[in-house]
Symmetry: C2
């Protein structure tokens, strides 16, 4: 296996560089069980099998590539292959490709793992299709009700249960999987950094110290649809005006609470005609904070303001929580082992959620971040220099040698 | 032919009451050359042929049902069959069904038209699929460049030219059709009222005096896409915040100019992920005013404010005109003839655009409005009581007798 390609991209990343390209949005759209995501799964299985790993799918759609016999208390590394709509090439795949590359290096050096070891790919990490992030790890770890997951629908109205069935899973078997969870002795996720931390630190690699508390909420505004030309401005009940004022209030509220973040990245207007005052508008809020308490306060304030703004526009709003993740402090002992194996690396807080955060409820977890020279993620501009991706693999290989 | 149905709806309207129902939005979605709109065209042809009318399609997709031999200077009445997304049952079809019913009544009474007469159905009146309203009448009357129309695309990226070809038209023959236009001696459009004028006047029927100047503009905001969790609030370049602030500014500006109306009814967020700061947002502005000058001033002010708001958010905006219609004062002599035939009826200004407005450039045109007890249109709540629809047909029949 070539370690790098002529194009300056890590081998593996170049092999999938044409899968799921999004001409409309730019970047990549690889939502769970889409044609492109299924192609990535096939690519992963082939890649892992070429390394002699045994690949199995668990009952929640996650993939496990075992080096040697599976067993409890394994060292597991990996990430995800799905993307946000129009995402970058590294968010997810970098961790998977780096894991496979680290395995290849260990094999070439004659290394034999002293304990069970697997490379894992977790399903629907971004929540792009069904709205809730980290569904694969959440279901496996039993931190989300499978009845709720089965009933989640995508934009076309397809339920998670039906999509899972189409992908070859038994929807009745979705949910907590303690046997699989018990196999994770520790989980290590290498990931592209999604901010400017490593630029400022002038370092190619860091370990993660924590993840912000975060969640998603749906804001459903209702008003009175009507004709855009025949309806006087006075007395309108326009839910898009209410939702627009809420977007501004959301931003202003997040600015007022230190360390908080609040974003509306998705909005649906019904009926959506140019010459029609909308009858309803749904917007989705992504809110995060340093602590659960901060984040709950932020969202409560946003809900209160949205309610008032809707009322001022003669509309109503219903705010519904779609997902919630507590703040995570990564395992201190594991962090110490990583830091000592790597001879000291900086630690960074993560604003983004990760499967490593969800899995901290079942095993010690840790993360390695690789520098992103644009500081931009969830967008086509996301990038990693080849030198830094190699530094990431070096770090992962070193850590795996010390843990295995 | 039964004049009314057991369901309290005008015959014809009940026959099409299941065509194009929109379960998601409520009401009806009948965009041009969709399955449902094609069904309505077939229905119209069958209905007209049952009355012995000869139906022909012109080269812009409009339908003409002739009672007797076609000829120049004809009396033409009709409306459209397409709808906004999630529209009501009357906007368009009421004028077509009333025209057919008036013909049936005239025939039953033994009336013979003294000049050429046709019932017309104009294509893409709402502009729901290709963004520009009244495309059928605009093309026929030569008031829009057919090259521009051929290149218009729907939400799926299909061009008007390709859609027209699929519907059996020759895209090369789209555009000004002076032979067909010359056949219109005068055009009379009966339409559901789209406001509360007739409720306030306590009258079932009115004639139209004028149509507001109106147009559509696209506001394309660009910012910097990024991760919703990993990106601090400070220094974001979020185009949805810019677009949202513009929605509020648009409303406030329209409120500041008497008689003006401005609406954003459609907005597209790219890439549209919940955990993604958008990279671009397009919103569509529908703006109207009592005069062209007022409307131009309104839009210029909106463009100026949007530009400033975009800059404040570190974004940019480009404002593009998609369509424009001058204010219309309906033909005074024709109005007088209608009023005298009807023994005096109130006159109402129309905030909505109509084919009768576009066609005022090729012939005298007039409109009859039928009371809408909800005052709501472009929404499922749009309604007409049977008694009022019968009063509308009485008026149309009376006027046709006096004109033919």
């Amino acid at each position: 296996m070539r370690p790098i390609t002529a194009h300056g991209m890590l081998a593996g990343l170049d092999e999938i560089a044409d899968v799921g390209r999004d001409r409309l949005r730019g970047g990549f759209s690889r939502s769970i069980w889409s044609t492109s995501e299924l192609q990535l799964r096939i690519w992963f299985v082939e890649r892992a099998e070429r390394l002699g790993l045994d690949v199995e799918a668990d009952r929640n759609g996650n993939l496990w590539a075992w080096w040697g016999p599976p067993g409890d208390g394994a060292v597991v590394t990996g990430s995800h292959l799905d993307s946000v709509p129009g995402g970058g090439p590294f968010d997810g795949p970098l961790g998977v490709v780096s894991a496979l590359e680290a395995v290849a290096r260990l094999q070439r050096s004659g290394f034999i793992p002293g304990r069970p070891f697997a490379v894992a790919v977790f399903a629907e990490e971004e929540g792009s299709r069904f709205g809730v992030a980290c569904l694969g790890s959440r279901m496996m770890s039993g931190t989300i009700d499978p009845d709720r997951v089965r009933a989640l629908t995508d934009a076309a109205g397809v339920t998670f249960a039906d999509a899972a069935r189409d992908a070859g899973l038994n929807p009745a078997h979705l949910g907590a999987d303690p046997e699989t969870a018990a196999r994770i002795g520790l989980f290590l996720e290498l990931h592209i950094e999604q901010g400017r931390g490593l630029i400022d630190l002038d370092s190619p690699v860091a370990v993660a110290s924590s993840i912000l508390a975060h969640g998603r909420w749906r804001l459903a505004f209702r008003g009175q649809g009507n004709h855009a030309g025949a309806t006087a401005m006075q007395g309108r009940q326009d839910p898009l005006v209410a939702a627009a004022r809420a977007v501004t209030a959301i931003r202003d509220t997040a600015l007022s609470i230190a360390g908080s973040r609040a974003t509306v990245g998705r909005i649906e207007v019904t009926p959506g005609g140019t010459n029609v005052i909308p009858s309803s508008v749904t917007s989705w809020l992504d809110a995060r904070g340093e602590t659960a308490k901060d984040t709950r306060l932020l969202v409560a304030e946003i809900a209160r303001l949205s309610d008032g703004l809707a009322a001022e526009e003669g509309c109503s709003v219903v705010v519904t929580e779609e997902s919630w993740s507590d703040a995570v402090s990564f395992d201190a002992r594991l962090l110490e082992r990583l830091s000592s194996a790597l001879g000291g690396v900086p630690a960074l807080a993560s604003g983004a959620g990760h499967d490593a955060g969800v899995l901290s409820s079942v095993a010690p977890t840790a993360m390695l971040f690789v520098r992103n020279p644009t500081g931009i993620s969830h967008a086509p501009e996301e990038w990693a220099e080849l030198e830094d991706t190699l530094a990431g693999i070096d770090a992962l290989e070193t850590v795996l040698r010390s843990l295995l």
